[in-house]
Every structure is written in C-alpha cells, then in structure tokens.
C-alpha cells in the first residue's frame, strides 16, 4: 500500500526476502517538501543484529516506523518475515515487537497489568508464567505491582523491554533502546539483548546514537544521512574503510562530510 504503487512485480528481492527477516527495496518517504527516506534498499538475514546509525533527521525513526507499518511509504516496498508491510501486517505483527522512546507504557497501570494487557493482545500462552519469567529475567519483581508512572527511567526502560519481549518475537525493532539510561543499566540492557538474540535466533534492528552500543552489539551497521544510506557493512570493515579505530570517529566523518575518494569508491 504505497502512495505510488508500482504494481505487483518485485522479482529482484522476492527470493531474498523470503529468507530475510527484513527486506527493504527502493524505499522512499516524502513529507511535503522533505525526503525523509531517499531510495534505500537493504536486507537483514534472520538471526542478525543490525545497527542503524545517523544523526538527528537522518531517517532512522522513519525507516523503522515504515518497517513496522506505522508510516506508509511514498514508494518502494517493505517485507517483514516474508510478508509485505503493511498490507499483510496481520500475519506478522504477532511475531514481532518494538520499543521506542516515542511511545510509553500506560502510566496508571501497574507493570503486571500492562504486561497482562499486552500479553493478551499478543495471545501469549501461559501468560502468568511468561510474566513471571520476564520479571525474573529483567529484574522487575520488586516493582511489578507498582504503577508504571512511579518508576525510574531505568525501571521504565526494563518494563518497555519486557513488553517488547512478551511474545518472544522473532523480530525486534528498537529505537534508542538505552537512551537516558545510566551506563550500568544501559550495559545490562545490552547484555540482555545479546542473550535474547542467541537464545531465540531473533533478528534485531536497532537505531542508536550510542556508537559503543552498536560496536558491541551489532554484526552489521547501516549508516544513514539525509535519508540515504551512506555505508553498510560490518563495524570492523567500516572502521577500516574510514581508517578509524572507533565508530564514533566514522560517525563524525560522515556527519561532517569528511569522506575521501577511496571511501566514495567503496560505497
């Protein structure tokens, strides 16, 4: 369902997208005069963790929202777990989940009530057992019967993560999962995501400004700038290409336009 639907032919990525967790093909999103996403294509294999990097306004959140079906593309296609989004979202929404700083868990409900409601929405079997398991894994037990609005930022993030994991998703979309967390809690969240991916062979796509987080977690990095993909490779390959030792230095090079001819050719 796009503004400029280009018909049913999409043979170039059809085979790839069947096995891919996410397949994005020539995606464009224009808001009035602004090209928020400018013809991007990528495909994420199942079981991978990919970082989406870029400055403010680079198009990360719009890309994730389009993959989730919350935003309709102007043109191009998105397939998630082998199904076109958003046309066939009913087939996949129960198998994926997300966490974003742009949405909150209802503040007046307790943690247990929130998880119960979302567990029922996702038709989670043995829900009370699943909530107990998440409470134990994410250390929620102490405040599980407290209203969400009365929790600290770190506790709220863990609750949001519990909601994102309630249905044991095959695909997890995370927008700034550790924003506003202290280093200890942020590190703890990263550790949990790593363990979850390994245990469930889940695919994770995360947008982040935290380069250390991306270096630690991701086996692939997509760098965006002004709605376009500037680079797409493993963290090590990207750092080597830019002749840098950290992704933060690469990020600054891209953000400030310090890209040399060799890197252009590599792209």
């Amino acid at each position: 369902m796009t503004e400029n639907d280009q018909g049913s032919s999409w043979p170039t990525v059809a085979d790839r997208s069947l096995s891919a967790a996410i397949a994005v093909d020539h995606l464009v999103k224009v808001y009035k005069q602004t090209r928020a996403i400018d013809d991007i294509s990528f495909s994420l294999p199942r079981g991978s963790i990919t970082g989406l990097l870029g400055g403010n306004g680079a198009g990360k959140t719009t890309t994730i929202a389009t993959i989730m079906g919350l935003v309709l593309p102007t043109s191009g296609r998105v397939q998630v777990l082998g199904h076109r989004m958003p046309e066939d979202s009913a087939s996949v929404l129960g198998r994926m989940n997300f966490e974003s700083p742009y949405v909150d868990m209802p503040m007046r409900l307790t943690v247990r009530q929130n998880l119960t409601v979302f567990g029922k929405l996702y038709a989670v079997k043995n829900l009370s057992d699943r909530i107990a398991e998440l409470a134990c894994d994410l250390d929620l037990t102490e405040f599980i019967d407290r209203a969400n609005g009365k929790l600290s930022a770190g506790q709220k993030t863990r609750v949001a993560l519990a909601k994102a994991l309630i249905n044991q998703p095959e695909l997890l979309l995370l927008d700034e999962p550790t924003a506003s967390l202290d280093p200890d809690t942020a590190d703890w969240v990263r550790g949990h995501l790593e363990r979850y991916r390994k245990a469930n062979n889940a695919t994770i796509l995360l947008a982040s400004h935290n380069m250390l987080e991306v270096e630690r977690l991701c086996d692939r990095v997509i760098i965006m700038k002004r709605g376009r993909i500037e680079d797409d490779d493993t963290p090590e390959a990207i750092m080597a290409r830019y002749n840098r030792t950290t992704l933060e230095e690469v990020f600054l090079d891209v953000a400030r336009g310090r890209v040399n001819g060799a890197q252009e050719a590599a792209r």
Partner: protein, 272 residues
C-alpha cells in the same frame, strides 16, 4: 493494526484485553469514577427541580410530566455515550500508547468494538444512578417507558458511536490539537436535535436539517410517548436507517483518517 486485515478474524480475546486495559484504568483513579457519576447527577437534579417548578405554574408541563427530565436523561445517554467512547480513545493519546497498540495484532475494528463496549460500561456507571435519582427525587421512572426506551437507547447509542468514531479519527489524524472537537461536537448537534422543544419550533428550512439527525427522531418520539401516549415506530425506524448510514460512513472516515495518519507519520508523534 492492519486496515487490509479488517475483516479477517475478529478476536474476542484482543477485544477483552482492551476492555481489561480500560477497566484497570477506571479502577486506578477514584476521581475518574466520581466524575462519571457527578455530572449526570447534577444535571438530573437541576432539571428535575426546574421541571417541578414549571409544572406547578404551567398547565402544559403539568400535563406533559417528565418531558424535561426525560429529555435530560436521553440527552445524557447520547452525550455520555460519545464521551465514554472518545475518552477511552483519548486515554491512549494522553498515555502515548497508540504506537504500542498500532504495532500489536489489534485490528481497527477490534479497537473500535472495545471502545464501544467501554462506552456502555461508562454510561452504565453514570446514567443508572442518574435514573434512580430521577425516580426517588422526582418520581420519574424512565424504565416505565418499557420497549420504547430500548428503541430510544439503541438509536442514541448508535449515534454516539458514530460521532465517537469520527472524532477519534480526527484526533488520530491531527493529534491532540483536535481534542476540543471531542468535547464540543455533540453540543453543536444539540440545538438541531430538538432535545427540549419540538422540531416545529425551528424555521422550516432548519427542520430539513434537523430531520437528518437520528436524535431528533428520538426526542420527538419521547415527547409523543409522554404527551400523547403514542409510540411512533415510524420515527424509530427512520432513525435506525440513518444511524446505519452514519455508522458505516464514520467507520469509513476512521479508516481514511487512519491511512492519512500513516501517510503523515502522525501515529508516532500524536502531539499537538
């Protein structure tokens, strides 16, 4: 929530989950519960005493006992029904929870059905005590209307849902900047619905507009019942037919506004 999957398998389980969510919310705040009771009670007491006073001083109102207080109760069914629907929807906007719901397997039709059921629950909490107050303070037993009351109620609640669905779509598309429409739109309908006076009072050209609104038929029907002891089934059937059209149109408008919200990317922001 998928538009395309609209007609594929409505899940009572998911509707139940949403009702549970709103039930938890209601129970979490006694001021919200109290507010549900407070305004209807205040309305019926004020208008009840006014009716008593007028009845003591005017032959017509002495003969047409209950038309004012009956109108107040029926108007509250219409107004509170819409508010009950819309406030549950606004709760999601205020809580910034809409993104979570839109990303869940919940379908638009399931979301709207849960809001309809919540409007009935909220209405029951507010209006049943109101009717009991009318009975004990003013000896007006709205339940004595019998079967016609069911016809009045159904027509009013259908209209309230249509308005609720439409304004929720507007808020979805335009963010909380459109919130005031939720609180005021029904008052725009009020003069044309002829709640407290017959349609014949309106200028002829305005009567044509008034007859496009289902509540007009209900309030005319109520007056016919209380003053002439006649149940006008023709009025109720006409109202039902218009309500069917309004419900379909409002649902179509909601889906169009939801699609527009997806185009504009306003589902994630939802702000002003």
């Amino acid at each position: 929530m998928s538009e395309a999957s609209l007609h594929r398998g409505i899940s009572l389980h998911r509707i139940g989950a949403m009702i549970l969510r709103y039930w938890y919310l209601l129970l979490s705040s006694w001021p919200r519960l109290l507010e549900l009771l407070y305004w209807p009670a205040l309305q019926v007491i004020t208008w009840g005493f006014l009716q008593l006073y007028i009845a003591q001083n005017a032959n017509f109102f002495a003969r047409a006992g209950g038309t004012l207080i009956g109108a107040v109760i029926l108007w509250d069914i219409l107004f509170r029904g819409q508010l009950g629907f819309s406030i549950s929807f606004l709760e999601e906007m205020w809580a910034r929870n809409l993104g979570n719901l839109m990303m869940s397997p919940l379908k638009p039709i399931e979301f709207l059905l849960s809001l309809m059921i919540m409007s009935l629950i909220r209405l029951a909490i507010g209006v049943i005590p109101m009717t009991l107050l009318a009975l004990f303070l003013f000896h007006f037993n709205v339940y004595a209307l019998g079967v016609p009351l069911i016809a009045f109620f159904c027509n009013l609640i259908f209209t309230s849902w249509s308005v609720g669905i439409f304004v929720s779509g507007l808020v979805l598309r335009n963010g909380l900047g459109a919130e005031s429409i939720v609180w005021t739109l029904m008052f725009g309908i009020m003069p044309l619905a002829c709640v407290y006076y017959p349609v014949s009072v309106l200028p002829v050209w305005l009567q044509y507009i008034a007859w496009t609104l289902p509540p007009t038929y209900v309030f005319e029907g109520m007056r016919a019942l209380l003053i002439e002891n006649t149940f006008r089934t023709d009025l109720m059937l006409s109202a039902l037919a218009i309500n069917a059209v309004l419900l379909i149109a409002s649902f179509g408008a909601f889906l169009a506004l939801l699609r527009s919200a997806r185009m504009q990317g306003s589902l994630l922001s939802g702000g002003e």
